[in-house]
Symmetry: C2
Subunit: 372 residues, 2 copies
């Protein structure tokens, strides 16, 4: 936004455009890229509207959108050097898109982010080449300006959770619901500089809710004996953070202590495994093996992590089945957890920047599962 | 959610499933529907997870999802009679999907909400028939249980805006930013029973921001002389509300008064035009014609409205190009506005339930554009 004094290093869109152009032409004589994924469009050009596309060729960059976003598109894409087309009429905008690709021999388009109806329509007018998004690949490696924003997002969530944790501790004395904790976290992240939450904050408590890794927050009152999972992140200029901390309300049972200790050990092992050239599946195994060895393998219901950037879940994905390899300046989560109906659940998650010097953890809020 | 005492009439998913089955078989011998759009899946079965599908045939209803959502899916879909499949491994889940359709002669799938890569994969294993989503059509007509939730969402936004309006009035004396107003609105909607905001709240102020119909909220301080557009809605059990009010800070100019009066007249004309059997384009024209006659046609940058339900922008769309016709129990917005860089902008929006007895307005916060 034009009038925001963010203090962050500006994003160098022109450099991104140049990087992308250096890859042209692609296989099969593809000399033009069509970007329909709005995240790709934003990364490349800066445009943040909810409707738009970009066409990239050796000597052109065109961004198209509808009338609502004309001024915003012109402002936001200035640093990319894009030409902006704005048409309120949908079929007219489509015609201008086709026109923007009229010089192309063959156009690369990602079949994984293009709806079938649109693919068919475009394929009837231009030569399409199904191509995994090159921009999505480039997006996996964060530059300094992106790392600043992700770090600021992580910091906003750290600060909010520090303020809200006492509310959780107070649940022994006053009625506090999952929704109360969530509402305070989301409000306070903004007070600490976030534009928004990164995703729907999870506050999952007790023997059933906490047993669901992606619980939807409810009106349940948190009570003594509960395990509580808080999964919270902030959004800063489009960039996400992601962090999870787990708690026991009141005096923990032996089982709660043991399971927490196991998850904590698994999570440290996962973070320690992060590094450039490391298969993403190795990070998953570092956590998972400890669970399996301890007899808790079937309490682990999800993969160990995901990339984070302009999208909260993006490549690379540290998981069992992954064939990806971590690279310098990836940012990934490491978030093992154990869940079982009747027991509840616990998860510990940090956001980790992959550097040549080793894992750099971006989420700093202390892990204090037990009161006192 | 199982433990939420919402007080709302439960949603009768079994009746929806029966309604859908009554439409089978479709043309070309389609005896099975595959739903990949998560909103369609939710409407039909109650499942609210972020990954899943549903297969509907004359005698079967299967919901598939991944391991994270197993328990939630079982709980949420109980009233639909669905069989739940949960598989953490993606390719295993795909195999179970294909298996669930093994008895089908031909499967209807919506090409407008299915990504091309997935379409191709499915088409290599089963007979697909490109079919506009029948569920999306049915979703346009709201039942009583849905209208309760939409009404409650509208009420939460009404109550929040009533509390926050004084903050806007105070901008003459204390510095208040767009973000401050937004943060209070979103926090207070939840205090008034909303699960969440319905969409990113818009607070757009001054000669440039207010001139953008879909302005992204910034740190701009609201000052005397500004036009301010506040577009705010709440979410209740998945159902959205939508409302816009516009303001002038301090003593309005003659131009600000005139333009506001024109928008107000257009908006009333639009609401009055709403009724069953009325072409959606007629609602648009009722607003637009007044603007054109007054010489402000090119200040009107968007369509006049949209349907609202489980999705904030859904069919029918009151717009110039629409060929849709309104029906009883549609819920649509009527939201004309005028925008010009240097002037700013104003928009007035109400949410309207289409009834045989005429338009029933669901958003009740008073329209008080000028202070005092």
């Amino acid at each position: 936004m034009t009038d925001r004094s963010s203090g962050f290093t500006p994003i160098d869109h022109a450099r991104r455009v140049a990087t992308l152009r250096n890859r042209l032409p692609l296989r099969n004589g593809c000399d033009t890229l069509l970007l329909l994924d709005l995240v790709d469009v934003r990364w490349l050009t800066g445009f943040t509207g909810s409707n738009g596309w970009a066409v990239v060729s050796a000597d052109g960059l065109v961004v198209g959108t509808d009338g609502r976003y004309r001024d915003r598109a012109i402002d936001e894409t200035a640093s990319s050097g894009a030409t902006v087309i704005a048409e309120t009429d949908r079929s007219r905008l489509h015609d201008r898109l086709i026109e923007s690709m009229s010089a192309a021999a063959r156009v690369a388009l990602d079949p994984a982010t293009t709806v079938h109806a649109r693919w068919r329509l475009l394929a009837s007018e231009i030569e399409l080449e199904p191509t995994e998004s090159l921009v999505a690949q480039l997006r996996q490696v964060k530059d300094g300006a992106e790392l600043e924003r992700i770090g600021a997002a992580a910091g906003a969530a750290d600060a909010a959770l520090a303020e809200v944790e006492p509310l959780l501790r107070a649940t022994m004395d006053v009625p506090v619901t999952e929704a109360d904790v969530r509402d305070e976290l989301e409000y306070r992240m903004r007070r600490h500089g976030a534009d928004d939450r990164s995703y729907d904050t999870i506050v999952a408590s007790g023997p059933e809710h906490a047993a669901r890794p992606h619980h939807e927050v409810g009106r349940r009152t948190i009570v003594e004996g509960d395990t509580v999972v808080i999964d919270v992140g902030a959004l800063v200029e489009g960039y996400h953070s992601d962090m999870t901390r787990s708690y026991v309300i009141g005096e923990p049972s032996t089982e709660q202590r043991e399971i927490y200790a196991l998850i904590d050990a698994a999570q440290r092992a996962g973070v320690d495994a992060v590094g450039p050239g490391v298969p993403a599946s190795v990070v998953d195994a570092a956590c998972r093996d400890l669970f399996v060895d301890a007899g808790y393998g079937d309490w682990y219901l999800h993969g160990t992590g995901h990339g984070v950037g302009l999208v909260i879940h993006e490549h690379p994905f540290p998981s069992q089945a992954s064939d990806e390899v971590l690279a310098v300046d990836n940012v990934v989560t490491v978030e093992p957890g154990l869940y079982r109906g009747g027991f509840g659940g616990m998860r510990i998650e940090d956001l980790v920047h992959v550097t040549a010097a080793g894992p750099r953890v971006l989420t700093h809020h202390p892990k204090q599962p037990f009161d006192g």
